[in-house]
């Protein structure tokens, strides 16, 4: 799954903000300590968050979970 990398500043900007009229951004950490968001969030049409449409993309590697 592809995700977009946020800077720490960008993460603070989008946290608790909405990317459409019914959905919130929810940045999470990947296994390389990046803050990331995913496809639908990066489709945001709100101009104040236009930067999310051009985030650098990487393959998402989740933090391993304990069995």
């Amino acid at each position: 799954m592809i995700c977009g990398i946020l800077t720490n500043e960008q993460k603070e900007i989008v946290t608790n903000q909405m990317f459409n009229d019914k959905s919130y951004f929810n940045p999470v950490k990947d296994n390389f300590d990046n803050w990331v968001i995913f496809e639908q969030e990066m489709d945001c049409k709100y101009p104040e968050f236009a930067f999310v449409t051009t985030l650098p993309l990487i393959e998402f590697v989740p933090i391993p979970r304990p069995i």
Partner: protein, 293 residues
């Protein structure tokens, strides 16, 4: 012009008279333009409402025992709004327990599909609006190839008091643990079938029941009950999440990838009520051609 106006009036009258008033209120709120829901979708929702109101195997109707019903119908990823509305109270308000989605869900005619990485839905239903010894949660799960919570809210990860509805793929360690209005039971469920309508229900202070289709044929619709010993505990002023676990209101974890085609929350159901709800929801999914068995 006169003919056109007359036609519109006739159409509205037929619509108003054709559906149950609660079903119609949901259609009006979730699809104010009237351009989203198909007749098939409306008929399916209406039939579900009528059946829930008519079914009362233990005295109270299924409809009256639920405070939130999420039909998960009509939404798309571009327009998720229809998936947010609570059929029991279709106002666009937190107080009406309408959903807010977090993260990158996919919304389609199958329902709302979480991505197991950052998706959750806030119901705004704190467990303390339910009763300590009478509560239930329900989720029509489409798949389960991961280990996560399809519904959850707990106080912390030590005592795990609250609601925890885990689906754990055997490759991730086997047993699925759960709790409702109490601490996690020591017994897990490694054989529980993890698709279809799944439920947790507490109707006593010492025990809750887990409902689902246990291992068997895929076509089996038999609802099996598993009793879990668990003392009920004090309630939380924290909301129940779908497809993840709300931990103390500060952490979200155990993100699920189990597609949701229906969810509901209410008071405790006995086995007869659970079987009735299962039949009604399965009929609803079949009418929408998205039943998984």
């Amino acid at each position: 012009m006169i003919i056109a106006t007359h036609g519109i009036i006739q159409s509205k009258a037929a619509a108003a008279g054709g559906y149950d008033t609660d079903a119609q209120a949901f259609f009006t709120a979730a699809d104010p333009t009237g351009l989203i829901f198909t007749t098939t979708q409306k008929d399916a929702v209406n039939a579900m409402v009528v059946s829930m109101k008519a079914s009362a195997p233990s005295g109270s109707s299924i409809w009256s025992k639920l405070i939130a019903i999420y039909p998960m119908v009509g939404g798309t990823t571009l327009v998720p709004a229809p998936h947010t509305f609570n059929l029991k109270d279709p106002r666009d308000l937190n107080d009406a327990y309408r959903l807010y989605f977090g993260g990158s869900w996919t919304h389609s005619n199958l329902g709302a599909i979480p991505n197991q990485s950052n998706t959750f839905a806030n119901t705004y239903i704190n467990t303390n609006v339910l009763s300590q010894n009478s509560a239930s949660v329900w989720y029509y799960s489409r798949d389960y190839n991961y280990s996560a919570e399809i519904m959850g809210v707990i106080n912390n990860t030590s005592t795990k008091n609250g609601i925890q509805f885990q689906l754990r793929d055997p490759t991730y360690g086997g047993n699925s643990y759960s709790c409702i209005m109490g601490q996690e039971a020591g017994e897990g469920d490694n054989s529980v079938y993890k698709t279809g309508l799944l439920g947790l229900s507490r109707i006593s202070s010492s025990q809750y029941k887990r409902y689902g289709r246990f291992s068997g044929t895929v076509s089996s619709a038999t609802v099996i009950t598993a009793d879990r010993t668990s003392t009920s505990a004090s309630l939380l002023a924290l909301p129940i999440f779908l497809a993840a676990r709300n931990v103390g209101g500060t952490i979200i974890d155990e993100y699920s990838n189990s597609g949701c085609s229906f969810a509901a929350i209410g008071s405790g159901f006995d086995a007869a009520e659970a079987a009735s709800l299962n039949n009604i929801v399965q009929t609803y999914q079949t009418a929408l051609s998205r039943n998984i068995y």
